[in-house]
Symmetry: C2
Subunit: 225 residues, 2 copies
DNA sequence: ACCTGAACACCGTTCAAGT
DNA sequence: ACCTGAACACCGTTCAAGT
């Protein structure tokens, strides 16, 4: 029976379970308390249902992870339609990184699951842009992996360390204390260099480096087609 | 009491536990059966000791993972001493990738732990090479992350998918069957492009693209120091 | 059709007891 | 000093029973 807001309510006043609602709650829980805190039991508690009720809408934890990562893929903003193909590829990469910053658990799960429908759609868009860019098919193929690898790798390195539950700054200080500053002077200098560094800027610098490199690689190979 | 091979043997004929021996067995187990199959119990079984005996030499599973990944870092071959700095950086990246191919579980663990002594030594070597390369400190810093990100990201994308326990080729076929070949024609073409692709060659192509890009970026910025 | 508790086969780790 | 079994607080999931 729908109530005044159009939400179906059961006779005992509780809202019935829903696959989208389960996935939304799982994403929210992982965002708030980390992927390690997401168990079938904790998720059921959050939803106010029995643990096993979840299995009526989700095959298991693995399939839940797939659904979560596909929900995250749906959040990636489409590039503006008036952009040149390679500029759109760039915008897509930046938008993907932004979504990963909101869901720090996502890159690791993204990696371990075959793409779902939303992610397939995003890949199709990206591959279409690369095909329309004028790059040769070989270089376009290379570019697909180079760009995605950069986005995913950067997110993983940036986030997985920050994630460790504990205070990240404290961990870095503890690490610095354990390193011999004369034997490992480059190491110490690098860490200090880090504390001013703007990761967003360096992400885009390397992204442009890759995109420019692809164009040049294509020009060189184009000499002898 | 040492036996004829110099190995200490206890009165009951069993070899006493050893931190290095534990770590070696853990690496071997993860290599052979995957990281998921490595539990404190399964590792103790492999070593023929009680589960809790491990805790006399290792703080817990997390510290064991750290020790495992540092053992893997120790396997990375040093670059030939006569190489130019950036060529040595390249060799180091290729050697790291080779070690990751042997220990497919390592990149994921590598990512989630602060570096141990062996890895710190490798980082110091790499940072020293970048400092000696003539690149400006900012570009060298950028290059450190761009290169490592490439190595780690490539290994993760390549291996984590192959790892899924099941037959990888079958998973790809199943995936292809679930994709609409007209709506997602670029996707299908990409997957087919994959089946001939030599990942080792494309890894080095993008690596060179990054290294060349760093040099050029440095030249452009060097115009106005 | 949807929900659910009990039960099973696992985890990592604490603790107290052994030698 | 090193080893270890029992026990605790968790997992994901199967199954049979409910409505």
């Amino acid at each position: 029976v729908p109530d005044e807001e159009g939400v179906v309510v059961r006779s005992d006043g509780r809202v019935p379970l829903d696959r989208p609602r389960i996935v939304r709650a799982a994403v929210a829980l992982a965002d708030a308390r980390g992927l390690a805190a997401l168990s079938m039991r904790s998720l059921a508690d959050e939803l106010g249902c029995g643990t096993m009720s979840l299995y009526n809408h989700v095959a298991g934890k693995d399939e839940l992870h797939s659904a979560m990562v596909d929900a995250v893929a749906a959040e990636i903003a489409d590039p503006a339609p008036d952009l040149a193909p390679l500029a759109a590829v760039r915008a897509l990469a930046v938008a993907t990184r932004e979504v990963f910053l909101v869901h720090p658990w996502a890159p690791g799960v993204w990696l371990r699951h075959l793409p779902g429908p939303e992610r397939v759609q995003g890949m199709e868009l990206q591959l279409g842009l690369l095909a329309a860019s004028g790059l040769s098919p070989d270089i376009a193929h290379l570019g697909f992996h180079a760009v995605n690898n950069h986005v995913l790798g950067y997110a993983l390195q940036e986030l997985e360390l920050t994630m460790g539950g504990d205070d990240p700054a404290a961990a870095i200080q503890r690490f610095l204390g354990s390193v011999d500053p004369v034997e490992h002077r480059h190491m110490v200098a690098h860490v200090h260099q880090h504390l001013d560094g703007e990761t967003a800027k360096s992400f885009e610098l390397v992204l442009d480096l890759i995109l420019d490199g692809l164009v040049r690689l294509d020009e060189v190979n184009g000499q002898r087609p």
